[in-house]
């Protein structure tokens, strides 16, 4: 037989018991208060009970029996008001709590309380009365997901950090209905949801419309930083843009203006992170969007090494090309290059290998075409294929062909077992048109882009909160990525096939380490939609209670409590009539 438990459909009505208790307490104290009576012979009266140790003046006086009867009647009526029921854990409907994980939940006035903090308090109070109920915790970020299927004891603050760039509450509601059929839903957010709420759905929103200035976009290239500063208030904002290292620049922003600003990076700071802060004393109610750190690295030059075994003509051509290309630099001795250019398939620590098959005297004649693109790989995007004279060096290539000259593959790619990218180039430098052809700048730009995609470390050095950090680990890192969070927290991410992915829960600069390699990624809390706090507002909507749920059929006990109260009331009347002035 299932274990039944006693619950209340409207537990908030139990609060009604509080004034009842206060009233009864006042009555008790009033009753307990002594009236002085002068007597002529105290020795004729009882001596009050005293403890064996005696001397104490602390005495508890039991109220008259009717007092307990009245107390029981009031408690029964209060309990009946809260609609008690009997149910089994299996039949009790679960509660799906949808937590708005967007950044705007962090907004607050100085000294005030953010919707995140208010929602946390609300949830703790709300769930206190139903600790064993099944609770489905759903985090509503850009892509809602179930983070826990437990109960009210769950420490939801460990995953509810409100750092996502947006929140899809409607999708989260759908997910809740899908995951727990017949559940009651509770949304905790900072504004009234844009969609209509079903009777089974409650909502608590503790936001308020606030003025805010914010950095809503930021991008760093090798030589400059582009960013957008926005003023979401209805009044002009006099803000200061502080760049470290750099300068302070005063900017006036009109109401609702979004301004694009370009900041040059001096060559001396090309390899250092740049911190940019937008200061505005009157409108910084969301702190996470006022500061960004932009790490170098997205466009860092590709370091490459040219093997000595390459034919002299190939080496000369490569050096000539790479020396004048800002996307490339020659790796220093001892450095693990991003790109290793070799003449044959050999072992290399680099993540990208370019095998240049430059065997002279191949029987095939040079030809100008037709060069044909086999697929849409990054390496061959935008190439002018009909202007170049190409002389293959061998008849076939390993890997997947991406470019061929007639029937002869001249460029192919593959990924080896170590997930290193291997590029095979079938080109005789002696018989091929020189580097002055327009084909080659585009090819080397594509090559640089391909190498950047495949090199070790994070795929991107600058991300927005909610984005996935994807890190390709070097082979000496033992497939483990050590992560240091901006708040000092440490964690370890294990890689799969050399790739470690994680989603940073908070914004700031994250330090990553694998083996001997160390990187930094900046997670920026910038999202224009979240920085605009004009739509936030307080909203409260209760569900229709458990009655609104389709599969809810408990054993209701209100009538039992009312019946007991009526019986006790009748007994009370009998006692009053019999005893009259019962003390």
């Amino acid at each position: 037989m299932n274990d039944f438990f006693l619950g209340f459909e409207h537990p908030r009505f139990l609060w009604a018991a509080l004034p009842v208790f206060l009233l009864l307490l006042a009555l008790y104290l009033l009753h307990r208060r002594s009236k002085t009576r002068i007597v002529s012979a105290i020795f004729l009266w009882d001596r009050p009970e005293r403890s064996p140790n005696s001397g104490t003046k602390l005495k508890f006086r039991f109220p008259p029996p009717l007092f307990y009867l009245e107390l029981a009647i009031l408690l029964l009526l209060t309990a009946a008001l809260a609609a008690p029921f009997l149910a089994t854990p299996e039949t009790y409907p679960p509660l799906a709590v949808i937590l708005d994980d967007s950044m705007s939940m962090q907004a607050k006035r100085p000294g005030g309380k953010s919707p995140l903090e208010a929602g946390t308090e609300f949830l703790r109070d709300e769930l206190k009365g139903q600790p064993d109920r099944r609770v489905l915790w759903i985090l509503a970020g850009q892509k809602p997901g179930t983070v826990s299927d437990s109960n009210a004891h769950e420490d939801f603050t460990r995953f509810w950090t409100a750092n996502a760039g947006s929140s899809d509450l409607a999708a989260a509601v759908s997910l809740a209905r899908q995951k727990a059929q017949g559940c009651e839903i509770l949304i905790v957010t900072d504004r009234k949801p844009e969609f209509g709420l079903a009777p089974d759905t409650a909502c608590f929103a503790a936001g308020e419309p606030l003025p805010n200035t914010a950095i809503v976009n930021a991008h760093r290239s090798a030589s400059r930083i582009s960013l957008e500063a926005a003023n979401f208030s209805d009044a002009p904002a006099d803000a200061v843009l502080v760049t470290e290292p750099g300068e302070r620049r005063r900017i006036g922003l009109a109401p609702k203006e979004i301004r694009r600003i370009v900041l040059p990076i001096s060559p001396g700071h090309a390899g250092a992170p740049v911190k940019i802060r937008l200061e505005n004393a009157g409108g910084n109610d969301l702190s996470c969007d006022d500061e960004v750190v932009l790490e170098p690295g997205d466009d860092a030059p590709v370091s490459c090494r040219i093997a000595d075994t390459l034919p002299a003509a190939a080496k000369n051509t490569l050096r000539l090309v790479l020396d004048n290309n800002p996307d490339f630099r020659l790796a220093s001795p001892g450095e693990t290059p991003d790109l290793d250019i070799m003449s044959a398939e050999t072992e290399s620590p680099a993540p990208v290998h370019l095998f240049w098959f430059a065997v002279p005297n191949f029987a095939a004649p040079p030809a100008s075409g037709p060069l044909l693109r086999e697929n849409d790989a990054t390496l061959v995007r935008g190439l002018l294929l009909n202007t170049i004279l190409w002389k293959p060096s061998i008849g076939d290539l390993p890997g997947q062909t991406v470019l061929r000259l007639g029937e002869i593959p001249v460029l192919s790619m593959r990924q080896n077992l170590s997930r290193d990218r291997e590029i095979f180039l079938n080109l005789d430098p002696v018989g091929t048109e020189d580097i002055g052809n327009a084909f080659w700048p585009a090819f080397f730009q594509n090559l640089a882009r391909t190498v950047r995609e495949g090199r070790f470390g994070p795929a991107r050095a600058n991300l927005r909160s909610g984005d996935l950090v994807s890190v390709r680990l070097p082979r000496d890192g033992k497939n483990v990525l050590n992560v240091n969070a901006p708040d000092g927290g440490k964690t370890t991410v294990h890689a799969v096939n050399g790739q470690a992915d994680f989603r940073p829960p908070i914004h700031g600069v994250w330090k990553l380490r694998s083996g001997k390699e160390e990187w930094e990624v900046s997670v920026m809390g910038i999202h224009a939609g979240e920085s605009d706090l004009s739509g936030a507002g307080a909203f409260r909507c209760d569900s229709s209670g458990l009655d609104a749920l389709p599969y809810w059929s408990p054993i209701r006990l209100s009538w039992v409590f009312l019946l007991l109260a009526a019986l006790l009331l009748a007994l009370h009347q009998v006692l009053v009539a019999r005893k009259g002035d019962l003390p």
Binding site: H31, R32, R33, S34, K35, T36, R37, I38, V39, S40, A41, I42, F43, L44, W45, D46, R47, P48, K59, R61, P64, D581, P583
Partner: protein
């Protein structure tokens, strides 16, 4: 012109007025068993004093020693000699001034009324009268026969006469009537004060006056009882059980005094203050033989 005592509490004068109206011509009854050895004036009734009054036929129960055998020898009739009752009746009225006498104004007024009735009745009967105010020490009132002029002080003495029998040594009249008006609401041994009261008296009376609230206390949920004399406090719920035990102790207390009084020839007369304030009903005093 009638004068009133200065410094007397407000209930004093009305209580005296009630007493005078109630007493009227009533007289304090002298004891019937008087020895006739004392006194200077002839009483109106015959007794066994020294002065011969008349002969009367013998009736069963008469003292055989009073049969005049010479008359029998002459007339063969048993005649007894009757003597004029020669008395100078004396009375001491002692009014307890302890604080317990004023637990209610009704009780205080009743005590004053009783004392004034006895004083007036004694004066009506030609008694030599002393009125004593027992307020810790004994104080003799200079105007005993005129209650209006009593040097009356409020009931505020911390002890009753029974608590301090050593001070109960006023120069009472010898062979007179002694009347103590009190409430006996003290935990003290009744023997000393009763012995002192009866010693040398022709008649000793203790009038025990209690307020109805002392005879039948009202119930109460939480009551802080405060002894008016000692200041001792007891916090109680005055339910049926507590009240029953109070009645039991009160009866035991009265029985103890009654027993002690009987053994010393003292008349104990319990009265309710409600019978003397605000309306005076003296029938119990007449029935007890105190007034005539």
């Amino acid at each position: 012109m009638t004068m009133s005592a200065t410094g007397a509490p407000p209930y004093f004068r009305p209580a005296v007025e009630r007493a005078l109206a109630a007493a009227g011509d009533a007289e304090l009854t002298a004891p019937s068993k008087v020895s006739g050895l004392d006194g200077q004036r002839n009483g109106s009734r015959t007794g066994n004093a020294m002065e011969f009054s008349e002969y009367r036929e013998y009736r069963p129960g008469d003292d055989l020693r009073r049969i005049d055998w010479r008359v029998y020898a002459r007339s063969e009739q048993l005649m007894t000699k009757q003597y004029a009752e020669e008395v100078d009746p004396r009375c001491d009225i002692i009014l307890d001034h302890s604080a317990s006498m004023a637990t209610t104004e009704r009780k205080a007024g009743a005590a004053v009324t009783l004392a004034a009735i006895f004083a007036t009745a004694a004066a009506n009967a030609g008694f030599s009268l002393n009125v004593w105010h027992a307020a810790g020490t004994f104080r003799k009132d200079p105007e005993p026969a005129t209650p209006y002029l009593w040097a009356f002080s409020p009931f505020d003495a911390p002890v009753s006469p029974s608590a301090n029998p050593a001070a109960f040594a006023g120069p009472f009249f010898r062979r007179g009537i002694r009347i103590l008006v009190t409430d006996l609401m003290g935990p003290d041994d009744p023997a000393p004060v009763l012995s002192r009261l009866a010693d040398g008296a022709k008649r000793a009376v203790v009038v025990m006056v209690l307020d109805p609230l002392e005879l039948e206390p009202e119930p109460g949920s939480n009551v802080m009882l405060v002894d008016i004399e000692t200041g001792e406090e007891r916090e109680l719920v005055l339910n049926e059980g507590v009240l029953a035990r109070y009645h039991e102790r009160l009866e035991q207390h009265r029985a103890m005094w009654a027993s002690a009084a009987v053994s010393r020839g003292v008349l104990l007369l319990p009265l309710s203050a409600a019978d003397f304030n605000p309306v005076v009903r003296c029938d119990r005093l007449y029935r007890a033989g105190l007034l005539k």
